[in-house]
Subunit: 214 residues, 2 copies
């Protein structure tokens, strides 16, 4: 994973992370990203679910969506994944901050044109969130598969930015009596809520209790 | 809040929300947004903290940051706020979805040039996350205030998109024995973690236990 001029972290470069394993760890802990693209000089930022396989990021949606229509020809995109880990309360207003882990990937996004590749990608997405579920659900019909666009982008130009730990105040400010520290935040996945129309005696699959995010 | 051609929700228009109160409710439940902007035809999506006052969104950062340098002249931006509420597991692969509340605001972002306005905006941000704390912390020095850029954007062109509730399967699929329902997710704010260098006997302010997000 190369550190290009565009992905080098410019502000607070000590927070920049370029190791591939760390970038993949951040990506694999997430479920939703924000995809940036440009239409008529106007940027759009769309939240969507994503997954990673190897050195590619994937996301999907309706073939009719504005975002995916625009990207289908292969256009510049930016995919950002962010985990917010806490609010950092310093003794000085200026040094307040956030703890977070984020990855920004720049590149050109393309649609998966091949039917088999599209099916394999959707299978991989299901495995990521609910391992084994693909065998339980009704698979996509040909019409549904046609109506689903799967986009992919290389992770060649990606970087991460991470802040952890307590506030860093100016040395003189440590004498102040103001409370300082971190208000930690996580994404909590709660016990499943069954569909009211679920058939009686439907077993609850084990994967519903194992998903961890953030 | 007007519904422009650009902000009208195009995909699944039944999920579009244009009432101002609902848009403000979604914005006021959040702490971090994703700001999209364009540099040399390349979109960038940067996560950052934000707050709302009236019909404006605000965010801030170092005057030296790439994002804020680019925006300072007043450029096209897109600010998206997303709360992920759950993973929707349908009986068919195709109808899997997410529950979420998101707001997308398009417009031109400008820096607050006036010192007093900048100070008032930073005060408002602190009030949003920790009411009363502004009186406890060391206020920004003139140098710190100069080094802080505060950006604002009008909410005139904003829309929300919301999905709630159980999966919506094709009628025939309700006969399948596959588990279906929602895996709910929330942003959890945990008890505060005090700075190891906190002075002994520093009282824990009440606002540390009242912040709710999402």
């Amino acid at each position: 994973m190369s550190q290009s001029r565009r992905t080098r972290v410019q502000r607070l470069p000590e927070r920049g992370v370029y190791e591939r394993t760390e970038i993949e760890r951040i990506l694999d802990a997430g479920l939703t990203c924000h995809v940036g693209y440009v239409v008529d000089d106007q940027p759009f930022v769309t939240p969507t679910a994503y997954w990673r396989t190897g050195d590619r990021l994937y996301w999907h949606g309706s073939s009719a969506s504005r975002m995916l229509r625009q990207l289908a020809a292969g256009v510049a995109a930016c995919v950002t994944v962010t985990h917010v880990d806490g609010l950092v309360l310093a003794r000085s207003a200026y040094h307040h901050s956030m703890n977070y882990r984020s990855v920004m990937a720049l590149g050109t996004a393309y649609p998966l044109l091949d039917r088999e590749e599209r099916l394999a990608a959707l299978h991989a997405f299901m495995e990521r969130v609910a391992p084994g579920r693909w065998q339980e659900v009704r698979p996509p019909s040909e019409g549904e598969l046609t109506a689903t666009t799967v986009m992919w982008m290389s992770l060649d130009e990606a970087s991460a930015k991470v802040r952890t730990g307590p506030p860093l105040d100016d040395e003189a400010d440590y004498a102040l009596t103001c409370w300082a520290g971190v208000l930690p935040m996580t994404t909590c996945v709660h016990p499943p809520s069954a569909d009211p129309r679920l058939l009686a005696a439907t077993a609850e699959p084990a994967y519903l209790r194992t998903l961890r995010l953030g």
